[in-house]
Structure formats: C-alpha cells, structure tokens
C-alpha cells in the first residue's frame, strides 16, 4: 500500500479531470472508471512527474491501471532516487 501522502497528492492532480465526480479511491481506474482518454492520461502523467520531480517512463504506463498502482510506482521511483 502506497504512502498516504502520495495518494492524496495524486487525488489532487486528478480532481480537475474528474468530470463525472467519481469518488476517488485507491482502486479507481483511469480508463474505465474515470474515462480518461489517452491524451488526458498523458497530461496527468506529466503533472505527476513534475509534482514529484521524477521520470515515469512510458514503458511502465500499460501496467498502471489504478490510482494505487500509480502511487506505488511513484513511491518506488522516489525511493530508488
């Protein structure tokens, strides 16, 4: 389970994109729950990268379907530092 702070930060970044007003939880998915298209996801990834000052490689994205998976990946990258 990823760090609470990271998850909270990601919720903040998603909030403006959450047009359907879905309740944000760790298991919410970007594609089917939030219905974000690939271009919006790309912008979100860029925002996450800038927020945490990390590189979230394109190769990882297909594996990341839920908010928690993204938060875990971010945490792992930060710790690898």
């Amino acid at each position: 389970m990823a760090n609470e702070q990271i998850i909270e930060k990601i919720y903040e970044l998603i909030a403006p994109l959450n047009r359907k007003g879905i309740e944000l939880k760790p298991d919410v998915t970007f594609a089917s729950d939030l219905e974000l298209d690939s271009l919006t996801v790309m912008d979100l990834v860029a925002d996450i990268e800038d927020e945490f000052d990390i590189v979230l490689p394109l190769n990882l994205l297909p594996e990341l379907e839920t908010i928690e998976q993204v938060a875990d990946a971010v945490e792992k990258i930060i710790n690898k530092g």
Binding site: D37, S38, L39, M42, A46, E49, D50, D53, I54, V55, P57, L58, N59
Partner: protein, 400 residues
Amino acid sequence: MDLLDKFDSTVALRDSLPFEKADPFKVVMEEIISETEAVIDGRHTILAGTNNYMGMTFNEEAVAAAKEALDNFGTGTTGSRVLNGTYGGHKALEATIAEFYGMEHCMVFSTGYQANLGMISALGGKDDFVIIDADSHASIYDGCSMGNATIVRFRHNDVENMERRLKRLPEDAGKLLVVEGIYSMLGDAAPLKELLEVAKKYGCMTLVDEAHSMGFCGENGRGIAEQLGVEHLVDFYVGTFSKSVGTVGGFAVSSHPKFDVLRLVSRPYIFTASLPPSVVASATKSIEAIKRSGNRRAHLWENARRLHAGLKKAGFHLATPDAQSPIIAVHLPDPMLGTRFWEQLLLEGVYANMAAPPATPSGVFLMRVSVCAQHTTEQIDEIITRFNRTAEKVGLALNP
C-alpha cells in the same frame, strides 16, 4: 474466443461516420495523369494529399534509370542487405545520400518506417534513455517499443518541458533525443535549435527525422536542421524516399565512426529483403535532381504560402499561423462534419487526407493538404475555390 472481437469498437466507430458517396479508406487511384492529377471513381481529380512534395514521381532521369536497372538487374534482390541483397546500386545510393547530407556514412533501409524502427531499437539499449516528443510518428513509438530503453516523453515542441525531464535523468546514462523536423499531421516545424542545444547540454546523442522536410527545407534541401543552421548538433538523420524522393525506402546518415556496426545489429535492416534495384536507381537520380532543384523548392514554398493565405482569408481554421511546410492542415469541428467535408471535396475533384485520431495529436480532426512543387498557381487557386464551395455545401461556418 474470436480474436477479432476486440476491434468491434473500431468497426462501430467507422460505421457511425456518414459516408454516402465515397469512403476515404477505399479510394482507388484508377489513373495517374501526372504528379498532381489522377482519375478517382471516373472523376478527374487534383491530388492535394500525396506527400509528393518535390513532384519527383515522373522525373525523367529517375524513370529512365529505373527502367535500365530493371533490364540489367531484374525485378528484385530476393535477399537481405547482409546476404545477397546489396548490389552496386545500393552502395551508390548510400554514397549519394551521405554526400547530400555532407556526412560520412549512410544505411539504406527498405522503408522509412523501418529506418526509424531500426535506428531507435538498436541505439536505445537496456540501460539507456530515449527521449521523444509526444506527437512523434508511429514509427518512432514503434521503434521505442521494439527496443529495451526507458522511454521518456515530453510535451510537443516544448523545450522547457523537455529540459525538466532531461534534468531528472542520470548524468552518465546513454541518452538519445528523437525529434522530427516537420510534424506530418499539422505541418508544424520543430524549434530544433533550442531542442538540440538543450539536449547536447545534458549529454544526449540526437536523431532528427527529416521525412517531411527533406527536399525543400534548407538551401540544399536537407531539412529543418540545415534551414536553422544546427546540423553540427545532429548525430543521426533519418529520412524516407516515399515523400520528396518519390519512391519508397528509408535511410539513416551519420558521421559517427562506429556507425557501420548498426548493419550487424539492427534487426529491421537485417531481417527483410533489400529494395529492388529499380527503386534504388530512381531514388539515386531523384536525390541528385533534388540537390539542384532550387527553383522547384522556391515554387513549392510559393504554393504552400498561397494556399495557406487563401484558406486563411476565406476563414478556415488553420493548424499553423503561417505556412511552415508544404503541409497545410485545416481544423474541422467534429468527425461528422469532417467526413462530409472530405467526401464533398472529393466530389468537387480535390483529393486531400482526412486525418483523425489516433493519427492526429490532441484528438483533432483535420483536412490535411500537402502541396506539390508541380502544382500550378491555377491549381492552388482551384483548390481554394473548391474548399470554399465544399464549406458552403456541407454548412461549415467560416470566419473570414
């Protein structure tokens, strides 16, 4: 489990488009009258979407050389470049391109798509980083998926966004920046000077794809890097024969002393048959002709500017503020209107490209026109007139 079921949504989307009299995915060129005209469905049509920028498809020397090569060397090589597929002509073409770019080495691939696949997948190893523009062509994305490097993407043509990402990468890691000179859908040019200077500051090697800028950008037609005077910052160029050169095939050039090793490790170079001798011969003649085609280049730019200005004045919503390339793209508000516009324009006798996601960036819908150096001024004016007539017929609001 039917493996094709996963494409049902694609089929449904296509079926929802209101084509009645023509289908953009089923256009058949029945007769090619010239570089700029064809017969489609019995109609005499101006070609304004063929990427035949320099109008080289009927270049006399290129056609003659191809015929001679057919007679002397046959219809195909039936082999890989690293087996029996390298003829004298392939070596001569590589020498011609290297000279055209003022570089030491050249590798000719069987398509431009494979040139990007072959270069990016071979250069980007397991511990390396490949940094790409978000609006990159599919061949760049596919080259990335094929290799083992970590892929980092930055916002389209955004130097600051790229630099922020480069800063985060390990200083001593292998890094390859891949950008295009002209982006093929909107026809917009890259700020290559800034991009390459920043990339070099962070220790990147650089690859520039000049597929849609070779032939008419820069004094010798090498591309945007030549036009902006930053060729010294380019480690590898990738290009194609299927646009300005008027045939098919791709290439990479470089002055890197170890460049030739790529012939032994680049799978898209090795595991495919080499180009037929006739194609190689016509590409060679065409590139030689392009080099001396200063007037043709000038006329192509006149055509591009005239079309851009004419459509802008008529009130179309253009993708670029000015003509940055021979690609002039017009925004259309939605797929329905876009479909009807494309269909009506074809009935009016103009063939343009209908460009829709995922080929286009930001989900936009475009009518993409590419002009040719062989278009006459009258043809350009005719294209503008027919765009106007089409807008009126399909009810597209213009803002002159």
